[in-house]
């Protein structure tokens, strides 16, 4: 046994570390108790009425770091870019070929950055390839890992080789269309990933959330190009695409709030606390960017402002949804009320929706 304390108090001259948890690497005393109960509980909690166990959370909070909500934004942007590239190639491949290439480049680089963000979040980053060890369709994270692993190289490869003469160019053009088919789930699977959890507010929002994330991805692409300066040939296209995304984003956030509001306690973090504030800011930023982007007349400054506000809005939206989930996990009554009011397993028996 090393000299470093491992909080096991096992004398290595008498015993061997071979237990089921012997491999658990401990560097410091776990502080979770100090965090869980910062000051001693004053009295016994009520058992009648609407009980909890000393207000302790029933669920564990998500352990993800700042990189994960940022990935939701970057992955969404990449997905929208790959989808746009496929659409533009299908209809206007020769006129918009440069725009198609640029979109694929955004998709490919975004996929790479997104992968990096996900890897630094892992508890064991060196094992990131284990994500591709199996394909598990019951796990949206497994599905997403495969989509991302395919989308990033497809985006980069087709950006380099599409619209070139010869076999390589034709192949890249064809694979680029398949890249669009990867971009579509890339923009939306993260919403499925969050919905597929025990966190009350995420589970409650499972029907509108994919619309929210996909429309936010559309808005993200338009905002990104507004910052870069959209190519003249694609300017109108991006304005229309972005406006559609921003309108849908605002509507889908309302739909998420409405679904969650079926149980008052579940909807709470969407309106209150830090997550509520972040979501309010996101809504205001997105509305402002929508208005600026549709304002008549052409002004580079206004376009830039629309892009910056829209990008900030889309990023804030992902953080707001993420932190709402953390707050929801901390609130035991969110789970209890949701399940008592028929939105636990009972919902499945009564539901008109399959699954």
């Amino acid at each position: 046994m090393s000299d470093q304390p491992d909080f096991r108090q096992i004398d290595s001259s008498l015993a061997m570390l071979t237990g089921e948890a012997a491999g658990q690497q401990v560097e410091q005393q776990d502080q979770h108790l100090a965090r869980a109960v910062p000051k001693p509980w004053p009295d016994a909690p009520a058992v009648a009425g609407d009980p909890t166990y000393y207000d302790r959370p029933v669920l564990k909070q998500p352990v993800w770091i700042w990189a994960v909500p940022l990935y939701f934004y970057v992955g969404g942007l990449s997905g929208a870019a790959l989808t746009m590239a496929a659409a533009a190639q299908l209809l206007e491949g020769s006129r918009l070929w440069r725009f198609v290439k640029d979109c694929r480049l955004i998709g490919g680089i975004g996929g790479g950055i997104g992968s990096a963000l996900l890897i630094i979040d892992l508890g064991r980053p060196s094992r990131f390839l284990n994500m591709l060890r199996v394909f598990r369709p019951t796990s949206p994270m497994s599905v997403g890992a495969w989509v991302l692993a395919a989308a990033a190289p497809v985006g980069l490869g087709t950006a380099l080789w599409s619209h070139k003469p010869g076999f390589r160019g034709r192949t890249a053009d064809f694979v680029g269309l398949a890249g669009g088919a990867l971009g579509m789930p890339l923009a939306g699977y993260t919403a499925v990933l969050l919905s597929n959890s025990a966190i009350p507010v995420w589970q409650a929002g499972r029907r509108p959330m994919p619309f929210l994330f996909v429309s936010s991805s559309m808005a993200s692409l338009a905002s990104f190009y507004e910052i870069l300066g959209a190519p003249r040939a694609a300017r109108t296209t991006l304005t229309i695409f972005g406006a559609a995304g921003r309108v849908a984003e605002i509507a889908a956030l309302k739909a998420v709030e409405k679904e969650a509001a079926k149980v008052e306690r579940v909807a709470r973090p969407l309106h209150r606390g830090a997550s509520g504030i972040v979501l309010k800011i996101a809504g205001a930023l997105n509305a402002a960017s929508l208005i600026l982007s549709l304002w008549p007349g052409r002004s580079r400054k206004r376009q830039l402002a629309a892009g910056i506000l829209g990008t900030a809005g889309s990023i804030a939206l992902r953080y707001g949804i993420y932190y709402a989930g953390c707050a929801s996990a901390r609130d035991p009554r969110a789970s209890f009320h949701q399940q008592r009011q028929g939105y636990g397993a009972r919902e499945l028996e009564q539901s008109v929706y399959p699954g």
Partner: protein, 271 residues
């Protein structure tokens, strides 16, 4: 949900009416599995200074000071409720279905096991457990939880917590036998006047969301009082609706892209 079981399905029946709150299960679990300690910390939550299950805490005794007598008991309006909580080894396990690496698997004993040499610490199992059992330890980086003493089962031994329980509140055995025993116990308690006794999660009929727990409980209060969810559901059971929405939203985005390219045609020059 137990593919190719070569052994009868094993599990725990935790009869909370027999629990005396001695925490021998917690100590035995820590010692056998060589789990690091949680530190010495005073919570004021009755005698519960363990607080919750976690990456390094695989048994947790809940202490409830109830200001009411148990059914059929005379005397003060007070009763102690103790309950030793543990991973439920659900028949449909949220953690297992969420795990993208295949680190979490179903063993030959029907238990749910995390392989520490495969887990990459993605943390997705943590949000998929409807009971808040599994957790990722920050310094270790991986997710950990009760293994149902897989090493002991391999040697035909009883898990450490059940072995050390002095009142047989924690019973270990073949799941069907435990179920029969538990139902008999509820009947007996009802006959003795303790009408509030019931089983929590003993099979798929009583808990359809998880299709039954391999570690189930006999309780005398509502589940919330013990910090157990009243109607838990494996998230995967509801995910089809989200995938359907995603497919519609994704096709909508593609349609919007096609439409905006078509509409942008008139306005555009050359790229």
């Amino acid at each position: 949900m137990t593919p190719a079981a070569t052994e009868p399905v094993k599990g725990f029946f935790t009869d909370t009416t027999l629990c005396i709150g001695c925490k021998a299960c917690e100590v035995a679990c820590k010692q056998w599995n060589q789990l690091p300690d949680d530190g010495l910390f005073f919570t004021g939550m009755s005698y519960d200074n363990t607080v919750e299950l976690g990456a390094s805490t695989w048994r947790h005794v809940a202490f409830i000071e109830r200001p009411a007598a148990l059914d059929g008991r005379q005397g003060d309006a007070f009763s102690w409720l103790f309950s030793s909580d543990v991973c439920k080894h659900c028949a449909r396990a949220g953690c297992l279905e969420a795990c993208p690496t295949g680190a979490i698997l179903r063993t030959e004993f029907g238990s749910v096991y995390v392989q520490p040499d495969v887990c990459n610490g993605c943390g997705y199992c943590v949000v998929n457990c409807p009971f808040g059992v599994i957790d990722r330890r920050q310094d270790d980086g991986r997710a950990w939880k009760c293994t149902l003493c897989y090493d002991r089962l391999k040697s035909a031994m009883t898990p450490a917590c059940a072995k050390s329980c002095p009142t047989e509140s924690i019973q270990f055995g073949n799941l069907d036998e435990l179920r029969a025993k538990a139902r008999q116990r509820v009947k007996e308690l009802h006959q003795r006047g303790m009408k509030e006794a019931y089983l929590y999660g003993e099979d798929a009929a009583s808990q359809p969301g998880t299709e039954g727990l391999h570690a189930f409980f006999l309780l005398t209060e509502r589940p919330e009082v013990y910090n157990l969810p009243p109607d838990p559901v494996v998230p995967t059971k509801k995910v089809a609706a989200a995938w359907t929405s995603m497919a519609m939203a994704a096709l909508g985005m593609f349609a919007a892209a096609l439409a905006s390219v078509a509409l942008g045609r008139r306005a555009g020059g050359r790229a």
